[in-house]
Symmetry: C2
Subunit: 96 residues, 2 copies
Amino acid sequence: MNDVYRALSDPTRRKILELLKVREKSAGELADHFDMSKPAMSKHFTVLKSADLVYSRREGNQIYYGLNLSVLQEALMGLMQAFDLGKSGSKDSENS
Amino acid sequence: MNDVYRALSDPTRRKILELLKVREKSAGELADHFDMSKPAMSKHFTVLKSADLVYSRREGNQIYYGLNLSVLQEALMGLMQAFDLGKSGSKDSENS
DNA sequence: TAACTATTTAACTAAATGGTTAATTAGTCA
DNA sequence: TGACTAATTAACCATTTAGTTAAATAGTTA
């Protein structure tokens, strides 16, 4: 779980996760969104994978990455609970 | 806000925040909970302060630290919202 | 002032992080 | 097989991180 928080501390990786929230994307598609070399991106993928925040799947030539939403969810819920911030908590509270 | 996520990525700092959740504590009191030198702790305090996650207040000889809960709250809510994890989110959620 | 306590700052170090370019692996297709 | 595409791994580098010990700062108190 510690890997998860470290993985989340980098803005590039958070952005990658947000992109994956929409749908699976190939390494190349993801890389297109950043001003950074492919190898650098690949290392970020590795970090995200070792934190289990994403999975990968080869499809022919490409490797597709997808978000493990539940892992992210549990990490954030874990923090929320550790600080008694559960359920409510937005600035202008719970408007149903 | 980026400083906040970086600050949260370290387990020692997360623990410090948890200790401060209960009540304000002096630098020394906090340090007693960790197997680490005072200067090392002091640096963690500095990181937490520059992320605005804690405030500090001198009282005579000692410096008391306290949690800025709202900053932590907003950071976590920000992540939650970025990933559409708001409101619900327990393991066995509400499947419509 | 001098001694004492609490904490930070300074100077240093080893390891981790985040990036680069060059080389390699894996798969497709003529 | 050979050429091509997609992505990773290897080797390297500069900066940041998280710790150390020694010195400095700030406040209290005799």
